[in-house]
């Protein structure tokens, strides 16, 4: 399966949107305009974009604490996403969710999650629902290398495999959990190899190569939709920013050199370089794209900033369904 130029350009555009959106979020967080500790997806865009290209709003994506990229890749509106991050009434959840709990069910985006690894069993449940309803949808759990050491990983992979559920387990192996290197706390760091413990296919791919992600995810999603069960996809990638915006990008737990080397492998720049190499004429289109994305983000910022907060009087609405 090879991606067409048009598709690659589309994926490029999505990655760029995530990058620029996150840059705005980071700026706001560091200035104090955005409360809390947002976890930016910078450097890992190819994973969300490559996987979600195979999904639509009928599928079910369960995301992490680092989930803005997944939300955007599922087609969430930047303005309502940003409004939610700011706790505004116009956000997807009326300002209740914020960065770590935003969901947009109409987009198949079932939510970020503040509890590491907790989304895996949820995705299994969505897979169960899909199988029972024979509706052809798939469920995706994104999770980090850190999450792969949680018991939920073990139980979820076994359940999904034994019940042959349409689930994708996408490990975003960025090699660190906060400031703890994966290697320092993990006996077997080859996550894909662990799929064998669940009689499930496990595939390791370059998570900074959006076409590779797109290809592997396409096969896995195809198998899932065909009733052939789950797949574990390990995408090896890197976050080139801090764990969150109030911590260091490097120093303490990793070197500037390491971060710089991965910045060289930026998924967006790599794709851009490759496409330009094939077709130098694209320069203008890239410039246009950059402009468009900047406008979308600026408009979202404008919208979010000027949206009102929810009124305290609504605080107990929806306490129960």
């Amino acid at each position: 399966m090879e991606a067409s130029k048009q598709l690659l350009l589309d994926l490029y555009g999505q990655m760029l949107l995530i990058r620029r959106f996150e840059e705005h979020v980071r700026k706001m967080a560091r200035s104090g305009a955005l409360a809390g500790f947002p976890h930016a997806y910078v450097g890992e865009e190819a994973v969300a974009v490559g996987v979600c290209a195979h999904l639509d709003e009928n599928d079910a994506v369960f995301s992490t604490h680092r989930g803005h990229g997944h939300a955007l890749a599922m087609g969430c509106e930047p303005r309502r996403l940003l409004a939610e991050l700011l706790g505004k009434a116009s956000g997807y959840c009326g300002g209740r969710g914020g960065s770590m709990h935003v969901s947009a069910v109409e987009k198949g985006f079932m939510g970020c999650n503040g509890i590491v690894a907790a989304n895996m069993p949820l995705a299994v449940g969505a897979g169960l629902s899909a199988r029972l309803n024979q509706d052809g949808t798939v469920a995706v759990s994104f999770f980090g290398d850190g999450a792969s050491n949680h018991g939920a990983f073990h139980e979820s992979l076994n359940l999904a495999s034994k019940l042959m559920l349409p689930v994708l387990f996408v490990c975003e192996n960025n090699q660190y959990a906060t400031h703890t290197s994966f290697e320092s706390v993990t006996a077997n760091t080859d996550v894909a190899s662990r799929a064998a413990a669940y009689a499930m296919p496990g595939v390791a791919i370059d998570g900074n190569d959006v076409e590779a992600v797109w290809q592997a995810a396409g096969e896995a999603v195809g198998r899932a939709r065909d009733g052939e069960g789950p797949t574990l996809l390990e995408c090896r990638t890197y976050r080139t920013v801090g764990h969150h915006e109030h911590g260091p990008v490097y120093g303490e737990y990793r070197t500037k050199e390491e971060v710089d080397a991965w910045r060289e492998r930026c998924p967006i720049e790599q794709l851009r370089g490759r496409l330009l190499g094939e077709d130098p004429e694209l320069t203008a289109q890239f410039a246009r794209l950059e402009q468009e994305v900047a406008e979308v983000v600026a408009e979202a910022a404008e919208f979010a900033e000027h949206s009102p907060y929810p009124k305290p009087s609504v605080r107990e609405e929806q306490a129960y369904a």
Binding site: G97, M110, I115, L128, R131, L132, H154, Q318, Y320
Partner: protein, 335 residues
């Protein structure tokens, strides 16, 4: 008596059987109801609570799980978020510890936090309670933990009729419901209305009317308290006995109205005392019904120690009818 049943015929049924009927009826009515847990397939559950359902509905809807409480509880929650109505059978409430993360951080929160985009119609079913010398890992009540967590409902039926009527309501409820059946009632027989029975969550049952003292008792303790009330009646003390039936939502009105009448309150709760349902009921009455109180509010509860296996020790730690009689005497004397 459950409210909608005045016209219905009654059949004597067992507590377990009544709950199994409820589950079967709901599965027949609504194809989105599924059940899973350990040994609930061909085995029919640890107590026969799912006997026959596997044969009737098959392995797609009656799913035997591995010993993965965290995983299959989360599976129930995720399935509920996507439109199913799972009844997750966790066997013993003591095993909720395995799945606590999913229950307290996922099930309880998504409806509110999503701004109402999703709901989580899942029932977490288990057996609770002591009285069988089963020891420290199979005797807990633990409902206070779930009462404390905002977003959950908590149900504790004391009779076959309530087992059926409340379980059906719990399955139809759009919220996560912790449904705890008491082990000592397992074979308990009682009248159950034939046909549809939907007992609303949040409505207490006045088991016995009285004027001298209000006794609120939960689950198995309802029967101990009823025995005590009968003995007290013979002494001329009139007990109003209330079974809240659901602890969240709690029917405070019925309790307050009773205390208004009697001026005295004894609470009989098999859970540990600290931060218990009894503590909550006491606090509600001490705030809202203070003006009617003639005597201290008295709590009767299980002593705060892990359940020992030795019969004399377990018996000594539990409330029972005799202790209820004593407590009622105490509050009658106090004011």
């Amino acid at each position: 008596m459950p409210s909608q049943t005045s016209q219905q015929e009654l059949t004597t049924k067992g507590y377990t059987e009544a709950m199994r009927d409820a589950l079967g009826e709901e599965m027949r009515r609504d194809p989105s109801v599924v059940v899973f847990g350990e040994g609930i397939g061909p085995r029919g559950g640890n107590w026969g609570e799912t006997t026959g359902l596997y044969d009737e509905f098959g392995p797609e809807r009656v799913i035997d799980t591995p010993i993965s409480e965290l995983g299959f509880t989360g599976m129930g929650i995720g399935a509920a978020m996507r439109g199913l109505r799972p009844v997750v059978n966790l066997m013993f409430v003591d095993f909720f510890g395995e799945a606590m993360s999913q229950i307290m951080n996922q099930a309880a929160k998504w409806h509110y936090v999503s701004g109402g985009q999703v709901s989580v119609p899942v029932v977490f079913w288990a057996v609770m309670g002591s009285g069988n010398y089963a020891g420290a890992h199979h005797s807990g009540c633990l409902y206070p933990l779930f009462m404390h967590i905002a977003g959950l409902k908590v149900v504790t039926p004391a009779t076959p009729a309530d087992g059926k009527g409340l379980l059906k309501s719990a399955i139809r409820d759009d919220n996560p419901v912790v449904f705890l059946a008491h082990r000592m009632l397992w074979d308990f027989q009682g009248p159950v209305p034939d046909g549809e029975l939907l007992t609303p969550l949040g409505e207490a049952r006045v088991v016995r009317s009285g004027t001298d003292v209000t006794v609120v008792a939960i689950a198995q303790m309802v029967h101990e308290a009823a025995r005590a009330a009968k003995a007290l009646a013979e002494e001329g003390i009139s007990v109003e006995l209330i079974d809240p039936r659901t602890l969240v939502p709690l029917d405070v009105e019925t309790i307050l109205a009773s205390v208004h009448k009697t001026g005295r309150l004894v609470i009989v709760d098999e859970a540990y005392a600290r931060c218990s349902a009894a503590a909550e009921i006491s606090a509600l009455v001490a705030q809202e019904g203070f003006k009617w109180l003639r005597a201290p509010i008295r709590r009767l509860e299980t002593l705060p120690i892990p359940h020992p296996v030795a019969a004399p020790l377990e018996e000594a730690m539990l409330p029972n009818a005799a202790k209820v009689v004593q407590a009622v005497h105490d509050v009658m004397q106090a004011g």
